[in-house]
């Protein structure tokens, strides 16, 4: 299996350790990742407010470049993922916008060629399949109480699972013998960019998530989304003091925990880089 | 040149498509005026001669509509229709009539919206192909 790999700024800049875990896990699972040459911003940023065509064209360009490598593109950052899927949708549904974007692409000498954009979780669950994954397990995760948290970006609107009640991570980690907690808040808001301004409303959302995760006895939250990982991880101290209640709980990108099951070391998976430390030996 | 208005006949089963077309009417679903319905009791009554006759009489396209497989009011008339249709298509194609001008569709009594869907879509297809010109090309060109 060969995928065109699009890290995006997040995995390159703020979450290199997720990038590490991803590469190591897929190495073990025998998935080849070829990074897209000269990839650029996905456009899901301020640029949209300046020119929609450009913001779409940015992702369109990445997609065209990806097409040179494979017919499937791997995007771990859910922000980018959403933007790319949006572009694919718009290019198909809105001929007028399509024309604009094609013009932009023409300027950089690219021909529009859509590819399938997938999230690593979809590769693990759908393309590889749990049975294959199980074969590769070195140590099971029994004793770990996993709280799977999906957020909104991979579930809505282009998600492949139930928009309110996805279960792929539940199934994945049950397969790895972890104790998976039925987490009713699995698709609730993580505060997104509200937290960036330190706004109390944003933090209260994170607080609810962390609190309930602990209340249900979870000892690790796994996420498929770096935005969620950021929000859930970064503000734990602040929230604990704000609400006078210890809400600290490690937050792992799902490949990091999966990696452990596959026998990879914590450093290979960048787990040592987490703000809230997690160690499998301490199960 | 005047807009091409296809002349199309749909030979339909009394128990499914004819009812669906009635329901489409009751529901005021608007669709193409170019497909005109001829009713038979069962798509199994459709004799390839009828289709050839329609082409001879200026049809630019012919639709045959019956009940979905397994739903035939007479058990398996629609299967007979299907087998004849498959062989007839081969003959018609050989005679220089594009296969797309002859189509068989299953439309259940409950599928009123499909009547519009199928009829409109068929008309579009025939418009793409243009007039059949059987008379000009063969009969009046000895």
């Amino acid at each position: 299996m060969k995928y065109a790999y699009y890290p995006g700024c997040t995995l390159r800049a703020s979450y290199p350790h997720v990038d590490m875990s991803l590469k190591s896990v897929f190495r073990v699972l025998g998935v080849e990742l070829v990074e897209i040459d000269d990839w650029n911003c996905c456009g899901s940023t301020a640029v949209e407010n300046i020119s929609e065509a450009v913001s779409l064209a940015l992702s369109a360009r990445n997609i065209c470049l990806a097409a040179k490598i494979s017919d499937t593109m791997l995007t771990p950052c859910t922000e980018c993922l959403l933007q790319q899927r949006r572009v694919l949708y718009i290019m198909e549904q809105y001929p007028k916008v399509r024309e604009k974007v094609l013009k932009v692409l023409e300027k950089v000498g690219l021909e529009w060629k859509p590819v399938k954009v997938v999230h690593p979780l979809e590769i693990v669950v759908n393309d590889i399949g749990l049975d294959k994954v199980k074969e590769k397990v070195k140590r099971d995760l029994s004793g770990i109480k996993v709280v799977p948290y999906y957020g909104c970006l991979i579930t809505r609107p282009y998600g492949s699972e139930h928009p309110l009640y996805p279960t792929s991570m539940d199934e994945l980690f049950s397969a790895l013998k972890a104790e998976v907690i039925d987490y009713p808040l699995k698709t609730k808001c993580c505060g997104a960019t509200l937290t960036a301004t330190g706004d109390e409303r944003g933090l209260s959302l994170v607080y609810q998530l962390l609190k309930d995760a602990k209340r249900r006895g979870g000892n690790v939250i796994v996420v498929p989304c770096t935005v969620c990982q950021f929000n859930l991880e970064v503000f734990q101290d602040k929230i604990s003091t704000m609400y006078g209640e210890n809400v600290s709980i490690p937050v792992l990108y799902f490949t990091q925990l999966l990696g452990l099951a596959l026998g990879l070391s914590e450093s290979e998976l960048g787990i040592d880089k987490l703000l809230v430390p997690f160690s499998i030996s301490a199960r | 040149m005047a807009e091409f208005k296809p002349n199309i006949v749909a030979i339909v089963c009394n128990w499914c498509t004819y009812i669906a077309a009635d329901t489409a009417g009751t529901a005021r679903i608007k669709y193409t005026p170019y497909v005109k319905i001829v009713r038979v009791m069962c798509s199994g009554r459709v004799d390839p001669q009828m289709v050839l006759w329609a082409f001879r009489n200026g049809a630019d396209g012919v639709l045959i509509c019956g009940c979905h497989p397994g739903d035939c009011h007479y058990k398996e008339g629609n299967y007979k229709a299907y087998r004849r249709y498959m062989l007839l298509k081969r003959l018609v194609k050989q005679l220089g009539i594009e296969e797309e001008r002859l189509r068989l569709e299953w439309i259940a009594a409950s599928e009123a919206p499909r009547v519009k869907e199928v009829f409109d879509e068929f008309v579009e297809q025939i418009k793409k192909l243009g007039p059949l010109k059987l008379r000009e090309e063969v009969i009046e060109n000895p």
Binding site: L164, P184 | V9, A24, G25, R28, K36, V38, M41
Partner: protein
């Protein structure tokens, strides 16, 4: 064909503005006048009216018409009306052809010019066709004066009783071990709040004791053959392992069962209570006979058991060797009353059914409220508490783009009834969450008002989710209903002890097989399709098969009973007549042309074609011919012709409908 000169009268109907509003009827008439053979062509505001019909009759006399074409609505509506009119004027009714310029033209065409052109062609086709029409006689067929009712809910029961009281033999087939259906689970019924059992049980017992009703429970229809008036039905009766004639329903066997405690899923109570392998479905079941479930009975499953039940039964009613039996009946009419079921709400995770023990579906609560239910009519949560606050959620899966788009119709009133009963028995705070309250029915609005005035709360808004995640101390340990109160324009979180979901209705399991078996069409939601939404809401397109109750669409009890008794009326009208006239569209074989090649014989699934050895030709058994015409299409020598669909007639129609412009 050597025939007398054809003189055709053509009548274009305005149907008020339904046709004339779009189609230029004058223009059509002018066009038709020019067609050879047309003697008179008129347009009139309502052809189906008395006056319209008289118009035809006069012309037939004055202008010596021998053919008539009426261009109006679908033949499915008025073909017979006009055939009768033609016949009354002394012409053979089959010298008539109808052109459908309403359903197939004026109602479906945007542009009046196009509509008019299309109408011309449709009428022209009918004119060309009618020229080749021939006089025909309807065939009379004797009708069996027995009636089959499928489904023993309130619909089936009501229909069966009416038919039986009219003196006809009725076979009532019920899938489960007792009749009574959904209604047997209810405690009270809206809007009058009279006791469901009190009004249902008498009817159930009447069914059981009625001399004209053959009640066949725990059975399913296996196959249906024949046609209107003469259906041959095979019914498969599953073994009950209890001889019904011997069992008196004393329940000694139930007490004696080696399972001291009931521990198996009980169908009647939706699993709220448990039952033993040997059981009586519910206290007022009819027939009130024990039944043994082969899935849970040790002896039937493993062949090893002390069989204490057998000893306990002093009437030796238990018979483990009972086999399923096939019952064959012949009936003239069939009434389908197969009912409905509730959608599986666990597929809608946001409501938390199956996740939170205190989320219930309405039928469970109905059973709970039922005096013969597991809690003897008390509302007691799974954790044993009495709820202090209850949320009732409307439209769970109904009026929902992602589930059932339709309104399930009875939930609003049922919810209001439940609200009343729950409040009455628990004094809990009761909330209704609704999109709209649909209280269209006699005394319904009044009932709604009354319950509202009793202090039941009504909050307009579709519930987003049920969660147990508490944000405030008072939410702790409760179920929180998150909803947008669209009247107050605020998002609310309402903590309650108990949630009741009103699930959407859907057709009963196996409806697809049933529809195939009986040849009844279904809607896209699989409700059985009536012949006409307004004018024939009971009949189906399969002659002799009628619909009663929810199998045709969601209905409450009054509507169900109304339709059931209507269906009984239709069925009785059919069987009482003693005979029916079949459309004469059967085939005939011209022995002068038939060479006995026997290609046709294999075409007929009804065995209506037989090769006559000594004559060397194939012959038609008219009684068996259903008139599909498949053999006519296959006959290599054109020796087979189908009445009403002779080659000449169909060719003429095709040529007519294709003729471009005024050609």
């Amino acid at each position: 064909m050597s025939r007398e000169e054809v003189r055709i009268g053509v009548y274009v109907c305005h149907c008020g503005t339904n046709i004339a509003g779009v189609v230029n009827v004058e223009e059509v008439v002018e066009y038709i006048k020019k067609i050879p053979g047309v003697v008179v062509a008129r347009h009139y505001v309502y052809m189906c009216s008395e006056a319209g019909q008289n118009l035809i009759k006069q012309d037939i006399k004055e202008h010596k018409l021998n053919r008539v074409v009426v261009a109006s609505c679908s033949p499915n509506l008025h073909e017979n009306t006009f055939r009768r009119a033609v016949a009354e004027a002394g012409l053979n009714p089959y010298y008539f052809q109808m052109a459908n310029i309403r359903e197939h033209c004026s109602w479906v065409t945007e542009d009046p010019k196009e509509a008019t052109e299309k109408a011309k062609m449709i009428v022209r086709a009918a004119v060309e066709r009618v020229k080749y029409h021939e006089p025909l006689e309807k065939k009379k067929v004797e009708v069996k004066d027995k009636i089959l009712v499928v489904g023993g809910g309130i619909a089936g029961i009501s229909a069966a009783l009416v038919c039986a009281n009219a003196g006809k033999t009725v076979y009532l087939v019920e899938k489960s071990p007792s009749i009574g259906g959904m209604m047997s689970r209810l405690d009270k019924t809206f809007p009058t709040l009279d006791c469901a059992a009190c009004i249902l049980t008498p009817k159930m017992n009447e069914v059981a004791s009625h001399p004209n009703i053959k009640l066949i429970t725990y059975a399913e229809v296996e196959s249906v053959e024949g046609f209107v008036g003469n259906f041959k039905v095979r019914i498969r009766k599953k073994p009950r392992y209890v001889i019904e004639d011997l069992c008196v329903g004393c329940e000694k066997c139930v007490e004696a069962c080696v399972f001291k405690e009931p521990k198996f899923y009980d169908e009647w109570s939706f699993g709220l209570k448990k039952r033993k392998p040997v059981y009586i479905p519910f206290p007022y079941a009819v027939p009130r006979k024990a039944i043994i479930d082969p899935e849970s009975c040790l002896y039937l499953k493993y062949g090893r058991c002390k069989q204490t039940c057998v000893e306990a039964c002093d009437r030796n009613a238990i018979d483990f060797n009972q086999k399923e039996e096939i019952i064959e009946v012949e009936v003239g009419a069939i009434i389908l009353a197969t009912g409905y079921k509730f959608i599986d709400v666990s597929k809608l995770p946001q409501y938390g059914y199956g996740k939170y023990p205190n989320v219930y579906i309405a039928p469970e609560v109905e059973v709970m409220l039922n005096a013969s239910g597991p809690t003897r009519g008390e509302i007691i949560l799974r954790d044993g508490r009495k709820p202090k606050s209850v949320a009732i959620i409307h439209c769970v899966g109904s009026r929902d783009e992602n589930n059932k788009k339709y309104c399930s119709r009875l939930c609003c009133m049922a919810a209001i009834k439940l609200a009343h009963l729950i409040k009455e028995r628990t004094e809990a705070e009761v909330y209704n969450f609704y999109i709209d309250i649909r209280a269209a029915g006699k005394g319904y609005e009044e009932f709604y008002k009354r319950v509202a005035s009793e202090g039941v709360r009504f909050i307009r808004g579709k519930v987003a989710e049920i969660t147990d995640v508490a944000l405030t101390p008072e939410e702790e340990g409760k179920l929180i209903v998150r909803v947008e109160d669209t009247l107050a324009g605020v998002i609310r979180r309402i903590p309650v002890d108990m949630v009741v979901l009103m699930p959407a209705l859907e057709p009963a399991t196996g409806v697809e097989e049933v529809s195939k078996m009986f040849g009844v069409s279904v809607t896209e939601d699989f409700w059985f399709l009536e012949r006409h939404p307004k004018l024939a809401p009971i009949a189906t397109f399969a002659d002799g098969i009628f619909l009663a109750g929810c199998c045709q669409g969601p209905k409450d009890i009054p509507d169900t009973v109304m339709q059931a008794e209507g269906a009984a009326g239709d069925a009785l009208a059919l069987v009482s007549r003693g005979y029916i006239e079949l459309e004469p569209n059967i085939v005939s074989i011209d022995p002068e042309k038939c060479s006995g090649c026997r290609v046709c014989v294999g075409m007929c699934p009804f065995g209506a074609l037989k090769y006559n050895e000594e004559k060397g030709v194939t012959e038609v058994i008219e009684a068996l011919c259903k008139g599909c015409g498949t053999c006519a299409a296959a006959c290599p020598s054109g020796a087979i012709q189908q009445n009403l669909f002779k080659d000449k007639q169909v060719y003429a129609e095709i040529a007519g409908i294709l003729a471009v412009g005024g050609e």
